[in-house]
């Protein structure tokens, strides 16, 4: 690669973006799978949440790696956006972007920023309270004093009581879908995969970008209307 660092070349940055995207898309699939159990069987959801919340490998290896992956994806996304803006210092008076490229492909930074804002809310709702309970209060039991069973499903249902929060979640997931609609296949193209499988992969990418957000929306609405 380039003499001044592995990410100083435009193709290396593309590939780094694609690799972090693959990692995050796999995480989304795993997150949805676990969350879906909250609809199917509450006990399974509680058991899985307790496992994920207390397992050493998940807590101290996978969780930091995930956080790094998220930060890396956003930081390199911003770097790309800034570099790309500076590559055209004087804008066109008339520019018909929609004539040759989809809205999704032209607005990845916008959908990405909405997802970033959503993650702030999501962390505030679930991740920060979990950190407080475990690392400040020192409570790793997953229980609430005086009650039976794990607390995770109860907390989840409680969060989705508020219609405003559910509305924000739904809108954010729609934008996540739009982000994935371009991002999924773009990541494969960046890694050099453009061959006889591309047509099929594009269809799979569209299905992925619809089904993953739809699954999260279903879970949020299910708990909102069944609390």
């Amino acid at each position: 690669m380039s003499k001044s660092g592995p990410l100083s070349s435009s193709i290396a940055r593309k590939m780094a973006m694609a690799l972090s995207a693959f990692f995050l898309m796999f995480f989304l699939l795993q997150h949805l799978t676990i969350n879906m159990t909250s609809v199917i069987d509450g006990d399974t959801f509680n058991d899985l949440s307790q496992f994920m919340g207390t397992n050493f490998l998940v807590q101290y290896i996978l969780q930091p790696v995930l956080l790094l992956g998220v930060v890396f994806h956003f930081v390199i996304g911003f770097v790309l956006e800034l570099k790309n803006r500076s590559a055209r210092d004087v804008r066109y008076v008339k520019y018909k972007g929609a004539a040759s490229a989809t809205w999704m492909s032209r607005n990845m930074i916008l959908t990405g920023l909405v997802i970033l804002a959503f993650m702030g809310l999501h962390f505030y709702d679930f991740w920060i309270p979990e950190l407080k309970t475990k690392f400040i209060d020192g409570d790793w039991s997953g229980m609430v004093a005086g009650e039976e069973g794990y607390r995770y499903l109860t907390e989840l249902k409680h969060k989705f009581e508020n219609p405003v929060r559910v509305g924000i979640y739904v809108v954010s997931f729609i934008l996540l879908g739009l982000h994935l609609a371009h991002g999924f296949n773009s990541a494969f193209q960046s890694m050099g995969a453009n061959n006889k499988y591309t047509k099929g992969l594009k269809k799979f990418g569209i299905a992925f970008s619809v089904l993953i957000p739809l699954g999260f929306i279903f879970i949020a609405l299910f708990h909102h209307f069944n609390h």
Partner: protein
Amino acid sequence: MKLTLKVWRQKSANDKGKIETYPIDNISEHMSFLEMMDVLNEQLITEGKIPVSFDHDCREGICGMCSMHINGEPHGPDRGVATCQLHMRKFKDGDTIYIEPFRAKGFPIIKDLVVDRSAFDRIQHAGGFVSVNTSGNTQDANALPIPKADADTAFDSATCIGCGACVAACKNASAMLFVSAKVSQFSLLPQGKVEAKRRVLHMVEQMDKEGFGNCTNTGACEVECPKGISLENIARMNREYLKASVSSSK
């Protein structure tokens, strides 16, 4: 046809530049866009004004010299043609047409609609060639067996005329489609494989030095390219680059 032209006028590279409005009449729908520009310039000269500077050469769609951004798209609303092959029948009587230069930091404006595309030449000089011994003992190229599919794909890549529409269309002003076509046309053939690693590393390095943006796979370049250069070329260049990066000793 009666038209209103909104043309970017800029006296020199350092001038700020602005859009000027020119009404124009008696335009035949059979005229090419460049012929319409010739009519405009004759009108401006008659009025004692400075004609609009614009690039053109063969006017047959093969030299890649014409470079106008017309109504928000490089080479205008038609597909698979350069500005010289765009005809006025693509417009309607009474239309307002915006005419701007290709805009990118890598393509600085020289005057009006003329931009400096020598960045493409420097990228080519960095590796877009095959070193052949021309001492008189050169092997006949036809003596090398090449699968037809490879020859056809290499030829498709080689049809890139280097006009810069890919850069002009891309929201990031990325030159990836041009560079990838030039990398592909050699890397697919046995003559080009010898210098393949050096070529892709040097050409990408030069492309980045010229200030072009990063590709985000919007595909606008492929749609606007007058020669239909495919995004497959960019994927191939990415593969070549990855292979060269992990195996190159430099």
